[in-house]
């Protein structure tokens, strides 16, 4: 009898999409099931097709949306969202032209399904277990929450996939991230992933694909799993994956592009095979005790610079590695923070609730529940930006927009908004923000802006207090 080696989830998906295995001299040719496209990283790829007279090989496996450079300001009287930035307008027009020329389906600005690419793929049921999914966007890792192999690619590779539906790839290593235990009240999936990144560092998983396992992961909802997988890239991993289970199937059932009827049964049987085999071995394993996780916040200028919200900011002189010490000094200088400072109670100027990490309906519900009947501090500007038009409609149907508005927060149209600050939503130099997004790099939310990454609950608590607050105090966990 043939002996088969137990395979990881990654290995199964890799094998399943392999057109040509890799050799010493050539990378593997890997088939792509779903290619997501947005306005910022695609124009130069379509130019390549034009220069070479190529077509989009599978328009039925390609889907485009507008999200990064779109404004999120309220609609005008004509029902349209005004794009005042000339360059952004040209970029959006280019995407529209490209999609029309090449037959790629597109959700334009203001259309009913428009939204952040990593929010709409799952919510419309395009994202499914066992798929390979790519996008010219590093947070494509989000889709790994469904047991898909999903990763970000560069624009040249966007052209490769448009033209051939394939990518040239070297097989990655895998790292199991096992998290057992129960998250305490006030502690969210965002805190869990921020804690992991703070432990292994922003380069900790370079060259690896993460497979998240353990009871704490199993207990997460799909939207929480997306939050976790989303930030895998912040640990240096190109992808993060969670094997599909009943939670996954329940989420998918009835979504517009999910299979139905007999097709559903066939798909379900197939999806159930996408788990790591018993005894499959990983190149590395990291174990984290979920019970020990507290609400997290970042203090520095990369997502690995995170601490428990009540812990002191690290002190450079206590670091032995010269290069790390320099990095910490530079970060604290940029953030205008003192070594040993406690962030709890520090006044902030802006609170941003949004981004592909935390702009889904459950994120908005969590924040709204904490803010019901309360007011955003008068010194704070709070932006609430739903991840998609669908999320926005759903939130409005539940009256969440009223809660945010009554609290004094701005309720916006869907998009990336202040996560990337290329659409008019940005911090002023020197401003402090608590943000539910994924990157606190220098200037990420606006030139000179200073970002504290945290969960939607911490964001809500902070908005009300006007100062960095402990989410556990608003959920009675303390």
């Amino acid at each position: 009898m043939m002996q088969t080696t137990p395979r990881t989830l990654f290995a199964k998906l890799w094998d399943d999409h392999l057109i040509q295995p890799e050799s010493e001299s050539t990378p593997a040719v890997l088939y792509v099931d779903l290619h997501l496209v947005h306005e910022v990283t695609s124009p130069q790829a379509f130019s390549v097709l034009r220069e070479r007279g190529l077509r989009v090989r599978r328009t039925d496996r390609t889907l485009a949306t507008m999200d990064h450079s779109t404004p999120t300001t309220p609609r005008g009287l004509d029902g349209r969202i005004p794009v005042v930035d000339v360059q952004a307008r040209a970029q959006l027009a280019q995407l529209e032209q490209n999609c029309a020329d090449y037959g790629v389906p597109l959700f334009t600005l203001g259309s009913e399904h428009q939204g952040i690419v990593h929010v709409i793929g799952p919510e419309l049921g395009f994202t499914q277990p066992g798929m390979t999914i790519v996008c010219g966007d590093s947070h494509t890792s989000t889709h790994g929450a469904f047991g898909a192999l999903a990763f970000g690619i560069g624009t040249s590779e966007v052209a490769h996939v448009l033209a051939t539906q394939c990518l040239l790839q070297r097989r990655a290593l895998t790292m199991e991230v096992r998290m057992d235990g129960v998250l305490a009240p006030g502690v969210t999936a965002k805190d869990l992933i921020l804690r992991l990144i703070s432990e292994i560092g922003v380069g900790g998983a370079t060259g690896h694909i993460l497979e998240y396992t353990g009871s704490a992961i199993r207990a997460l909802s799909m939207e929480e799993r997306m939050t976790v997988c989303n930030m895998s890239i912040e640990a240096g991993a190109r992808a993060g994956m969670i094997a599909p289970d009943e939670t996954t199937f329940e989420y998918l059932a009835g979504r517009p592009h999910a299979p139905t009827g007999a097709d559903w049964d066939v798909a379900l049987a197939r999806w159930r095979t996408f788990t790591a085999d018993e005894g499959a071995s990983h190149d590395r394993t990291v174990v984290l005790d979920a019970n020990s996780i507290k609400p997290m916040i970042t203090y520095g200028t990369n997502p690995g610079m995170g601490i428990a919200v009540d812990a002191p900011v690290p002190t450079p002189s206590q670091l032995s590695d010269a290069s790390e010490r320099r990095a910490l000094e530079k970060a604290l200088a940029y953030m205008a923070l003192e070594p040993g400072e406690i962030l709890l109670g520090k006044p902030v100027d802006v609170v941003f609730l949004g981004s592909c990490t935390n702009s889904r309906i459950s994120d908005l519900r969590l924040a709204a529940a904490a803010m019901r009947g309360k007011r955003v501090a008068s010194t704070v500007r709070m932006l609430v930006v739903p991840g998609s038009q669908e999320v926005k409609r759903q939130a409005e149907g539940e009256g969440l927009d009223e809660i945010f508005r009554a609290a004094g927060a701005e309720w916006r149209e869907a998009g990336c908004s202040m996560c990337i600050a290329m659409n008019g939503d940005e911090l002023a130099p020197g401003q402090y923000a608590v943000s539910t997004s994924n990157r606190n790099f220098e200037g990420r939310q606006g030139k000179g802006g200073r970002t504290f990454l945290a969960s939607p609950l911490t964001a809500a608590a902070t908005a009300i207090a006007g100062r960095i607050a402990d989410a556990r105090t608003i959920v009675g966990g303390r």
Binding site: Q87, A88, G154, S156, A163, L168, T206, F441
Partner: protein, 198 residues
């Protein structure tokens, strides 16, 4: 893509780890539909002050940096966003190679695909090179992609490794799309075996 065989150049050192692509080219410059013109805004927020004037203390603004085609940086260079605008901006400025002890995965791919050579060397080697540049900014290094070697002026050499396929493409100055497009029969055959699978 311009072929890359050898490079003989001075170097500049950016002694920082985890340099992210948001620093290499800030997002507000990504509203372009072109690859050109990004070099002017390479490291914009470190390079220019609020008024847009060059900050004299930043390495790229020193006179010796003007002609350097080699950048030496700390570990995990190019982390963060997948924007290919990062290698386009580095190339636009005039860099042809970057040395670091570790590159972020997507950045490395993007760089290789555009003829910007990412040279991964052990940390002590990177430190040696950085120290040498600090002492002698005019020191010229020789990078040989055929031999995969990085030579210091005194003749000392460090070997590096580049994926053989990417190396072939860089040496020839061809991009990877042509190779992939030739796989059309295999791709079509694969799709037939997967009919019905979403």
């Amino acid at each position: 893509m311009e072929p890359f065989v050898t490079l003989h150049s001075t170097g500049v050192v950016l002694p920082l780890e985890n340099v992210d692509t948001d620093q290499i080219i800030p997002a507000r410059f990504l509203k372009t539909t072109d690859r050109l013109g990004l070099g002017t805004n390479l490291f914009a927020d470190w390079r220019y002050d609020a008024a847009g004037a060059a900050k004299p203390e930043f390495v790229l603004n020193r006179p010796e940096a003007k002609t350097a085609q080699l950048l030496v940086a700390g570990k995990n260079f190019g982390c963060g966003s997948s924007r290919e605008h990062a290698p386009w901006a580095l190339l636009g400025y005039g860099f042809r190679a970057v040395v670091s002890s570790e590159f972020a995965d997507i950045f490395r791919n993007n760089a290789l695909g555009n003829g910007l050579l990412p040279i991964a060397l052990p940390e002590p080697a990177v430190d040696r090179i950085s120290a040498l540049i600090a002492r002698e900014p005019a020191a010229r290094f020789t990078i040989d992609l055929v031999a995969q070697s990085f030579a210091l002026p005194g003749g000392e050499r460090f070997d590096f490794h580049v994926d053989p396929f990417a190396r072939h493409c860089m040496l020839e100055g061809v991009d990877q799309l042509g190779y992939l497009a030739n796989k059309e029969p295999e791709i079509a055959a694969f799709e037939r075996t997967r009919a019905g699978v979403s």
